[in-house]
Amino acid sequence: MSRAGGTWVGARVPRNEDARLLTGRAQFVEDVEPPGTLHVAFVRSDLPAGRLRRLDVERARSHPGVHAVFTAGDLGPLLHPGAMLVPPPPLEGLVFHARTALPLVRHRIRHQGEALAMIVADSRYVAEDAAQLVEADIEPLDPVVDLGRALDESTPRVHEDLPSNLAAHVRQTKGDYAAARARADLVLERRFSYDRGIGGAIENRAVVAEWDARADRLEVWDTTQAPIPVRNVVAAALGLSESQVRFIAPFVGGGFGPKIMFYAEEILVPWASIRLGRPVKWVEDRYENFFATTQERGQLHRAEIAVTREGRILGVRDIFIHDSGAYDPYGLTIPINTQCTLLGPYHVPSYESEFRVAFTNKPIVTPVRGAGRQHGVFIMERLLDLAARGLGLDPVEIRRRNVIGPEEFPYNHEIMYQDFAPLRYDSGSYEESLEEAVRLVGHETFPRERERARADGRAVGVGVVNYVEGTGIGPYEGARITVEPSGTVRLATGVGTQGQGHFTAFAQIVADAVGVAPSDVRVVTGDTSDFHWGTGTFASRGAVVAGNAIHAAALSVREKILRHAAEALEVDPEDLELVNGAARVRGAPDLSVDLGALAVRANPLRGAVEPGTEPGLEATSYFGPPYGTTANGTHALVVAVDPETAMVEILRYIVVHDCGTVINPTIVEGQIHGGVAAGIGNAFYEELVFDEFGGTSNASFMDYLLPTSTDVPPIETAHLETPSTLNPLGTKGVGEGGAIPVAAAFAQAVEDALADIAPGLEVLDIPLSPGRLFDLLRTRRESRESHAESAGGPS
């Protein structure tokens, strides 16, 4: 079947994967349990910093049901620091100290939850019983907890071989900020802190490995976002050829970034399977996840904006510290995203940006949905709000005066982005997006609404903020498409799927090219035996990079179909159309041949095949973009604040976004809804709390507050489509955009709601928990009261 009046790309196609997911038939790693499987529990350090003096595992080893207990001393050649996954870009004057962790601690503990020993037992229950029998003699060291003091000379060092806790230092500039500042009518400086938290995927990490000694093959089921690179690292570490190792990332219950990382468990579990000759399984539990899986956290900024009287930006200066945690395996992706994304959709003629990355005794920081972009957007949008207030301008107006216009693309920001390429915007709809959000939220008439609410004793406010998101970076992805004799079209690609709707969106791209319905396209992702070239699912790049590889492969298959059909029907390929799973002659629909028949014809069992041709209706293609394509959008929300309880309720949430060509609006909206939910969590609920000893105080979902369905309002979405100029489909990424500007919008709206009650209140720290808002309100009240007293008192 074909879609009447258009293409499958752009249609609200129901998801191919939902039948399996909703009826419990989808295979997750937890579901994999070959006969004879042994189960792993790790003994992890409770202390964040210490020297491991002695580790006694003898009682654990002799516990009934325990098959093995491994410590660092048992690992042999595996005992070397983990992979440096993303080296820093080649920036002038860059300082970067690469430090990655050992699979198991040998001497030095650098964060809570570092693994000391691995226990393999008949069941996870027995393994945990044995874990309690391990005696670790640890000399506690003073932990580095406070990011603001991490780089002080007197602070203890996380890595004893480095002169300080400095992991990296980067400075990027454009224009002459000092001159801009001297020329400005208004210069504002503030200190900001922006914290983030865990990825919070519904499925924790899990690895199941089975060594098949007869086939000399290792099969690993893994919740990774990057099955191919992880397969390659594991094969190399274990001394196996890549083709001996099959990694399968089946359905994965959410990725959000942390699962792109390479983890020690991904080597240790397969290694244990080879050593013990049994399938071995490890499923991370929720408590472990707070330490053993990477997370994102805070940055401290000192930022300054210089503007003219009319509100035009002359320049921005931003100096910040980024918390890397105990190691830095993912390089500088997060702080460079912050540095670059801060510039947003605005003209910023001069920019001075400098950051330092600090090692701390906290779990490792790597990208989580948004990956540092939130921090940058928050700083810029707050600076604009403060400048608007200082100039007596409306927050929307100051944005209007600074956004890059539609005629200015491609726009070059002159500094270097995370993909090692200059920060360039290929296309965008910044003015249109802002105006559409302003219209949808009713910004012009909002003052009347605010008055009406005030009469009812309610404080309501509105926030409107912009963002851009660099998406779809390289290096490349690939796809192989095969028409099978049944007429089914098979697509294999290397990226893994964690709930993004790949089985549908990718199928839609194929369906348009070869004339079948998306439901007739069988999509395989994340199995290295089906496709073993590619990097993974990250940086909002699936629909861009894999999507365009699929598009290219589908067009090649289309060519083959048309050639074989033309021969079969003895017509010119030009006269053919592909409809309903068949090639047919235009204007003579009775003259047709099914794709299945053509697949058989293309793979004959006898007879001569022309030299230089390939069998089958199959093609493999790759796509690598020259640089990332930039998506954009505007979020607007209306909040009600109870100034007595400091509780904030979101009354309306509007997202206007532009991710170029929309493949499936339903899936895009799902991405936006999930992103906004994550952003609401970041803005108001989620915070990793570390005590003075460096321990995480809230390592459970009782105290680490993810927003629930009742905390996320209905989200009104408007799609703008400015195609990317960097790929044939015109797609841009949308996986992270929903999460990026939420805190900035939230802060503006809360200030707006409290403008009369607490004039001058400034939200400079995120998350804005009710406790923090209460303190802000109290401080404002006290300062007003003391001001009133001193003004009214006797002189």
């Binding site: 996870r124 945990e128 019983d129 539990d285 309880t645 609920y685 105290d703 629930t708 406790g771 209460f774």
Partner: protein, 298 residues
């Protein structure tokens, strides 16, 4: 997050459960709804040698009207029943009003009134609500050596039951078997409210109030208790007393709310400072007492 090994006894009746609890040689904990105990087992914060499961004991699930027109709630009555049971909703609307604040429907379907009260968590809703209602607890154990009969029972005012954080007057061989709520009287109004980070979370602070007015609108009796207002579930007697003998005018309620905030002993934690909790207690007390007074008037 797997529990350590333990023995499990599914008690068929109350005597069997009391028998298991009476055996001092095996550390035994009763398993009611499991909504606090099971997570504690999984985190290995509790490691009893044996669990005695109360879920099969029918007599603990009864909801009955007592002779004086009050309510008898068996210990195994689920939170969800407080919201839905017609007798409870009619007789003690405060229970029905407060129950939806307890966690989420799935948890309320399992969690029990007896379990919640016996757990003596100052952050839980039901201890505060039952205190406000002047409830009593019925406690049973197997007869000890030298006592007559197979079973011994005692009844305790709830106010005497809570001794400290997560610490009650229950002896290791005792089981809380029922909660008895006195009948409501004419001219009585009740209300409950709390502020929580998210719907279903433990409250940052919560307030339950009951007020009885005479025909002239003068307050004859008032009770206020707090959720997360101190280290134990507690009645705010002084604050309530200030309301008695006068009409509950806004100024009087404001003064009672201030007294409540002042005499409360809220703890600081990662979710709220002591000052914020006190402020919430004051705000919520004013709102809740006003609502109880308005309901008493109608």
């Amino acid at each position: 997050m797997k529990p350590p090994p333990f023995d499990y006894v599914a008690a068929a009746d109350l005597d069997e459960a009391l028998e298991a609890l009476a055996d001092a040689s095996v550390e035994t904990r009763p398993l009611a709804g499991g909504q606090s105990l099971v997570p504690m087992l999984n985190f290995r914060l509790a490691a009893p040698e044996r669990l005695v499961d109360l879920n099969g004991i029918d007599e603990l699930s009864r909801i009955e009207e007592t002779e004086d027109g009050g309510l008898h709630l068996g210990a195994m009555v689920r939170h969800r029943q407080l919201e839905r049971d017609p007798l409870i909703v009619r007789r003690t609307p405060l229970l029905a009003e407060a129950a939806p604040f307890i966690a989420h429907p799935q948890i309320r379907s399992r969690g029990t009134v007896g379990g919640s009260v016996a757990h003596a968590d100052p952050a839980a809703e039901l201890p505060a609500v039952f205190l406000t209602l002047g409830a009593r607890v019925r406690i049973a154990r197997r007869s000890r050596d030298g006592e007559s009969g197979s079973r011994a029972e005692r009844t305790l005012a709830l106010d005497d039951f809570f001794l400290g954080p997560f610490f009650s007057a229950l002896e290791p061989d005792e089981l809380l078997i029922a909660i008895e709520v006195p009948p409501s009287t004419p001219g009585e109004g009740t209300a409950f409210d709390e502020v929580a980070r998210r719907r279903g979370d433990y409250a940052l602070a919560g307030v339950a109030a009951r007020m009885r007015l005479n025909s002239g609108g003068v307050c004859e009796e008032a009770a206020i208790s707090l959720v997360n207002g101190g280290s134990t579930p507690c009645l705010m007697r002084e604050a309530a007393r200030t309301l008695v003998g006068a009409e509950p005018a806004p100024e009087a309620i404001g003064a009672a709310a201030a007294a409540c905030a002042e005499t409360s002993e809220p703890a600081a934690d990662m979710h709220a400072s002591e000052a914020y909790r006190r402020h919430l207690i004051r705000t919520l007390t004013a709102r809740v007492v006003s609502r109880a007074a308005a309901r008493a008037r109608t």
